[in-house]
Symmetry: C2
Subunit: 369 residues, 2 copies
């Protein structure tokens, strides 16, 4: 039953969809904005990959934002990647304010190819835009017997230790490493205590924040998500100085050195604002490490299983059922979503319907019964 014929009841419940249908929908919308078919497919891959893995903050809901930026000319519909510099194990790309997803996909593919010969390859990208979830790129090398790394800077949201203003980005990064029988290790983390999405979710559901998530405009701890969003800032991982927040602040700075300064992109509080004439200048970093350059891949995979199993079976705190490995929750969520379909909340579905209507396209996204 398509949503346009929904009952009042259906309009308020979460419906589930096939990943392939969501994929096709994104491509349909983006190609209507003159995004080349291959590029639209890559953006769709990244958005659906976030939905599958249970990270809806980086999923289908981004499509309206991307559409608006396309209409405003803040994302160029097609991505002209220019290689600025290149050596045997490193290169720098300019994405010309095209798609961060497309730049990320091609940068990581080239990293994988080059790392086969040299053991490692690292790439930076400048003049780019939002690239979605970092884990999508970090996981690309897994099937090639490689470890993957991806990082991006963002607009400033995080206060440095002893500061009180949004100064550094949430600057997430991801590292993925394959295992034998176990699922891969996939760490994907912002360098703030939580990313913006978690604060917004607390605001939407009118829940107070845990301490160490955010501060107000004086730099004091603040449990009110609205105040943090409006005039406060996020705290770096670790919180205040006493609990080593300077380490999370240092990590955010580190990502800005690699993805901003080394890439020749924007960085820190000097990142161009959304309304600035110069346009976006987000920067990314990608790396692929060939495991065989260090030891036989089968030994590495076996030891990954041993490490994962030893940590998972270590003694649990009272009341805890389980110790998770980074990425494990997301793999389980993806398996469930592949079985049942990907859930979309009603406000996301409505936004997608509006996008179709704006472009005069039929809204043919059909939920799973």
């Amino acid at each position: 039953m398509p949503p346009e014929t929904d009952s009042a009841h259906d309009r308020h419940r979460t419906l589930r969809f096939h990943a392939s249908d969501l994929q096709r929908f994104v491509v349909c919308i983006l190609t209507a904005y003159d995004v080349p078919h291959e590029e639209a497919g890559i953006v769709a891959d990244v958005l659906v990959s976030a939905e599958r893995r249970g990270i809806p903050s980086h999923g289908m809901g981004r499509l309206s934002l991307y559409s608006r930026r396309l209409r405003e000319g803040k994302i160029h519909s097609s991505t002209k990647l220019v290689t600025v510099r290149e050596s045997s194990a490193a290169f720098c790309l300019d994405a010309g304010q095209g798609w961060g997803h497309v730049a990320g996909h091609h940068a990581m593919q080239r990293c994988i190819e080059k790392a086969k010969g040299s053991g490692i390859c690292i790439a930076t990208v400048r003049c780019s835009t939002h690239f979605g979830i970092a884990a999508h790129y970090a996981m690309m090398p897994l099937d090639h017997g490689m470890i993957g790394f991806a990082a991006t800077n963002t607009r400033p949201h995080v206060a440095p230790t002893f500061g009180r203003a949004p100064t550094l980005g949430t600057n997430p990064f991801s590292l993925a490493a394959p295992a034998l029988h176990e699922r891969p290790f996939v760490l994907d983390m912002s360098t703030s205590t939580v990313a913006m999405g978690r604060i917004k979710l607390h605001e939407a559901t009118q829940q107070p924040l845990p301490a160490a998530w955010g501060i107000d405009d004086k730099g004091d701890v603040c449990l009110n998500p609205g105040v943090v969003l409006e005039r406060g800032a996020l705290l770096p991982l670790g919180g205040f100085d006493e609990t080593s927040g300077y380490k999370g602040y240092g990590l955010a700075f580190l990502v800005d050195i690699l993805s901003g300064v080394l890439a020749g992109a924007g960085f820190g509080p000097l990142m161009p604002h959304e309304h600035e004439e110069s346009g976006p200048n987000i920067g990314h970093t990608f790396a692929a490490i060939d495991i065989e350059a260090f030891r036989p891949i089968e030994d590495f995979l076996r030891d990954m299983d041993r490490l994962i199993q030893a940590v998972r079976s270590s003694p649990k705190e009272e009341g805890a059922n389980r110790i998770y490995i980074a990425g494990e929750k997301e793999f389980e969520q993806a398996e469930q979503n592949d079985r049942l379909g990907i859930p979309l909340m009603p406000h996301i579905l409505n936004a997608l319907q509006r996008e179709s209507a704006r472009l005069g396209l039929p809204f043919d996204l059909t939920p799973i019964d």
Copy 2:
């Protein structure tokens, strides 16, 4: 006035020494244990570098520990480095249970040479021992227009999120990047909220721990440093799950993948215990990134200054005087110590005196007046 003629007063006060005298003292002790002169010099460099930078937990106090391990055969007096695998931008060394410092020094030197051609080089080291402060190695590439990275795993001290036992190492890493007029950015951090030294210092001074530093053997927060050391564990950076401790846990795991599993060294809870027959099997990771492979070095250095100055001059929280850049406190400490001499606490000085006596060497360490 040499310490052996100290008054009762002098025995209880901190005396200051020239870095070059401490350096010579370490070489003298280690060569008496048949450590080759060049290797003793490298170990001395790293220990004195920690003292200069105000990190005495990794300084002269380690000499007694190293001496004991030399006597027990747990560090081989000379380091036979074997290249296990090598490609154009990656290699793996076996340190044969020699000096971690010597392995680190040579690994990073080779990384710098190889990165000149390829843009980046990464090295792992297996069968190694304690290598001192990670920042020492991460800073080696700075004078070559490069970014440096160093990481090591350690014996397990940290509980994973929802765990309660020491399972992963404090697994520190360091990243250093040069600037133009500003001092370099030097992040050097354990992936736990604090390293073991901070807990031991609180135990020695009988001060309760801040929350989020450690847990007891049930996994509950524990403010008693003795209990944390005896039967508890350190918390990862971020503390418990609600404040994103799973990110610090993920970082510790990440370092163990690179320095343990990828290197073919020990890892996690499977790291050999000190008393085990097999001997130590600590692993390290080093990398050097050539900035010119991405953009002109002068542009990078200028933008590093801009980023540092923008963050430093951002609004401060009420009551705060200053926003620090990673490494800034250590540079200022080093400048002060170069001016006034390096302070050694009485119990460290006594330990050094005992080392000399044990070897029948004259104790000729003379404090600065």
